[in-house]
């Protein structure tokens, strides 16, 4: 898919198998290596069985971009992804704090802020998840009328929802 239109990655979290092939694909694409902790999509598993991929949702108001004291973050107009200017980033972590989902992280190699760039419009994580048949991640057309920030949530919050879906009433006890 070569996106000229802004895209978005929709997620169907309860279907995630926890295989982490999205991480493999993402790190291979961006780092040329298998490097789970440098992957822009990271699969959390606060509770076994309740795995889910966690990645930037391209909030409509981009709190991370606004928070950066040195202007290292910008929005790619074409894809809507947050782009990090690694040379400017001073590793202060302001974007991590500003993000309602605590999605960005300091790259374990150069300690620069790291955020999903939507692979320039051709998301590798979506490809493998689709080819594998789990269909947790899917590319959808981005509509400006939607508030994507709703989906930027912290791993612990997401886990709470997932455990009730998966384990029923016992779920929350497991996620405490």
């Amino acid at each position: 898919m070569s996106a000229v239109e802004p895209i978005w990655i929709a997620r169907d979290l309860p279907k995630c198998s926890g295989c982490r092939l999205c991480e493999v694909a993402c790190s291979l694409h961006h780092e040329g290596r298998i490097w789970p902790e440098a992957s822009r999509v990271r699969v959390f598993m606060r509770v076994p069985g309740a795995e889910f991929p966690h990645l930037c949702t391209q909030c409509h108001d981009y709190p991370c971009v606004k928070s950066c004291p040195v202007g290292a973050l910008s929005v790619d107009k074409r894809t809507s992804a947050v782009i990090v200017d690694r040379d400017s980033c001073n590793s202060c972590g302001a974007c991590i704090q500003a993000c309602p989902g605590r999605v960005p992280f300091l790259h374990p190699g150069d300690k620069k802020a790291t955020i999903c760039d939507l692979c320039g419009g051709d998301p590798q994580c979506v490809k493998v998840c689709t080819e594998g048949g789990w269909n947790v991640l899917r590319v959808v057309e981005r509509e400006e009328s939607h508030s994507y920030k709703l989906y930027a949530r912290r791993p612990d919050e997401i886990t709470m929802d997932l455990v009730t879906i998966i384990f029923g009433e016992h779920g929350e006890r497991m996620a405490r």
Binding site: L21, I34, G133, I166, F167, G168
Partner: protein, 624 residues
């Protein structure tokens, strides 16, 4: 050197010392990692005194090894080894999860753990090294609480060390349950809530070392590959082969619970008194529709995601959680106990995992006890209650007694074979005839009497891992599921469910080269490398000790039960044939370079560069 982090952490729990160990390139090239390297290391360090090493004493060494392909080959595993408290040999026991990848990303290819901590401890393995931390607060706790408490603790610790740098992902955790703390030999090293390295009894080894858990969190990349471009291409080819395995992906081995019983007559039913049943209540559809809340579940890099997550949502067993159950657990904590209801089976699996047992081993022992009760050998007075087939409450009670080592549970916690010896002495009877074991280990849930399942007559008697159905000796030693091939997967270390198709196996040599740069071919593997590892494992098994020594030939036999004819089903009357076993065994020994008693020949060992093994074997077995 490529494909390896390059160093191993060596932890002496007795004095709290942690140092780094490296192996030379030649050693790694010969043994790869995992099972192979563990065999080499254990023999080098303990071979001389093997018969005196108590598997549950501080002198035993626990190895937790990855291999060069871990994280590269789709579906990652960890291989755990040491002197086995069950077989007294070396068993390479694997468990899937993220820990091996986390460990390699933290810069280690493995952990070598010796000694015994004074108080309960856990290890935290990160890019900064290995820390020994107090575990008193989780000692005695089951899987859910242990996992929950250690996870929270580690996350807080990591966050405190680098505040604001990231939302920390969970470390991966290997842990043991209460039964392993009490050194029951039928326990597993567990991970998450539901997977375990069960064969070998290494849960008990961790327990004996006062080691409750090992946590791993690495931030680095996987060790660099020799040719990443090539590796990447092969990985994708393998992934695509695995994506096509639709039935394996959809049902995992859970589909076999009914199949192996009704179609193949090879499933343990009531302690193997039968191997046939036609209970459709136990079909995979019932599991799929009633208890599986997650139909595709996998660990790092796995294209097959053949695991399933089961939760019982209503009824008396509400709240029970386990993975799958896979075929082995459906069989051993189901049909083998006369249990034919998915919910009851899930409940027993959930309890087994909560207490830290190995499903195969504990199911084998429970079945053995129930048969003794059926025959009036064990009575209500011995047990404290009645124990009938299908009685979930009874099995629950007995399993808890085993975990606590309470009453007769103390003897049963030693595993079927040792319990048969002890109870036999008490009762003045030969009870080993009811023990369906091989070299002290409960046999995998694949019978051989009907001859329809994949295992053969020599599979268990000749396997260097005892009754391990995932490592069966095969007459055709180059076969895809033969022990020699499995040694490759267990040394590599990755999941062999992802390599069952021949096309995938063909790619393995190329992937090894792309990752390590080494040219290893099928020939080098089957004619040399695998035989070397096999010979060391066989030597350790033959030396055994200190509580039991296996006699060549006499103990390289099938369990007595399998010479009894199948009592029902379409293959009624079929039984194992001793002559056939003897002939197959003789040919097998010959093919792997062992003499007629199954003792690796001097010439073979010398060719393989195993002079020390030869010397030990001659002096130890010389007079027998």
């Amino acid at each position: 050197m490529r494909g390896y982090a390059g160093k191993f952490a060596e932890v002496d729990l007795s004095c709290g010392e942690v140092k780094e160990t490296v192996f030379g390139e030649e050693t790694l090239k010969q043994y790869l990692g995992g099972r192979g390297l563990a065999a080499k290391l254990l023999w080098d360090r303990l071979g001389e005194i093997w018969e005196r090493v108590d598997p549950l004493g501080p002198e035993n060494i626990l190895t937790i090894f990855a291999g060069p392909l871990t994280g590269y080959y789709p579906g990652s595993k960890m291989c755990i080894s040491g002197k086995s408290p069950l077989t007294l040999g070396i068993v390479g026991s694997t468990v899937a999860g993220e820990h091996a990848v986390d460990m390699r990303c933290a810069g280690f290819d493995g952990l070598i753990i010796k000694g015994r901590a004074e108080k309960p401890v856990y290890l935290l393995v990160t890019d900064d090294g290995v820390e020994i931390r107090d575990a008193s607060h989780v000692w005695g706790k089951g899987r859910v609480e242990t996992y929950r408490i250690l996870l929270r603790e580690a996350l807080q610790l990591l966050e405190g060390r680098s505040p604001g740098s990231r939302e920390w992902r969970e470390p991966s955790i290997l842990h043991i349950g209460p039964a392993a703390e009490k050194m029951s030999r039928v326990t597993a090293v567990q991970t998450k809530w539901a997977h375990g390295a069960g064969y070998g009894g290494y849960g008990a080894v961790m327990g004996s070392k006062n080691l409750k858990a090992v946590l791993f969190k690495g931030l680095g990349p996987l060790p660099e590959a020799w040719d990443m471009g090539r590796a990447r291409e092969i990985i994708w080819r393998i992934l695509r082969i695995c994506f096509r395995s639709d039935s394996m992906r959809r049902w995992g081995t859970g589909a076999a619970g009914y199949d192996v019983g009704s179609r193949l007559s090879s499933e343990p039913v009531r302690n193997w008194q039968d191997e046939w049943h036609d209970e459709r209540s136990f079909g995979v559809d019932r599991f799929e529709e009633r208890v599986w809340v997650k139909r595709y579940w996998g660990d790092f890099g796995c294209p097959s995601t053949c695991l399933k997550l089961s939760v019982v949502r209503a009824g008396p067993y509400k709240g029970a959680v386990c993975d799958n159950p896979d075929y082995e657990n459906q069989a051993y904590l189901g049909t083998n106990l006369g249990v034919f209801t998915p919910e009851e089976n899930v409940y027993l699996c959930s309890l087994m995992e909560e207490l830290g047992f190995c499903g195969i081993q504990v199911g084998n022992t429970l079945g053995f006890a129930a048969e003794l009760y059926q025959r009036g050998i064990l009575t209500k007075e011995d047990l404290g209650f009645e124990l009938r087939w299908g009685d979930v409450k009874g099995f629950e009670r007995l399993m808890k007694m085993m975990a606590e080592r309470e009453g007769i549970g103390d003897i049963l916690a030693e595993g079927t074979y040792r319990a048969a010896l002890k109870l036999g002495k008490l009762k003045g009877l030969d009870l080993t005839r009811y023990a369906v074991t091989e070299k002290g280990m409960g046999i995998g849930a694949h019978g051989i009497r009907s001859k329809l399942d994949y295992v053969e007559a020599v599979s268990y008697p000749c396997s260097v891992q005892g009754g391990d159905h995932t490592s069966p000796a095969m007459r055709d030693i180059r076969k895809g599921d033969s022990e020699l091939t499995v040694i490759l997967h267990d040394s590599g270390v990755y999941c062999w469910f992802n390599i069952m198709k021949d096309e995938a196996l063909d790619l393995i040599w190329e992937l090894i080269q792309a990752v390590t740069g080494w040219q290893i071919t099928a020939d080098t593997w089957y004619k040399e490398m695998a035989l070397r590892i096999l010979a060391i494992q066989r030597a350790a098994l033959l030396v055994g000790g200190p509580d039991i020594t296996w006699k060549p030939i006499k103990d390289d036999d099938l369990p007595a039960r399998w010479y009894e004819p199948l009592p029902s089903g379409p293959y009624k009357g079929r039984a194992s044939d001793k002559k056939e076993l003897e002939e197959d065994r003789r040919r097998y020994f010959e093919d792997v370079g062992w003499d007629e008693r199954g003792i690796p020949k001097s010439s073979t060992l010398k060719c393989l560069g195993l002079e020390a093994v030869d010397k030990k074997l001659r002096s130890f077995l010389g007079n027998q």
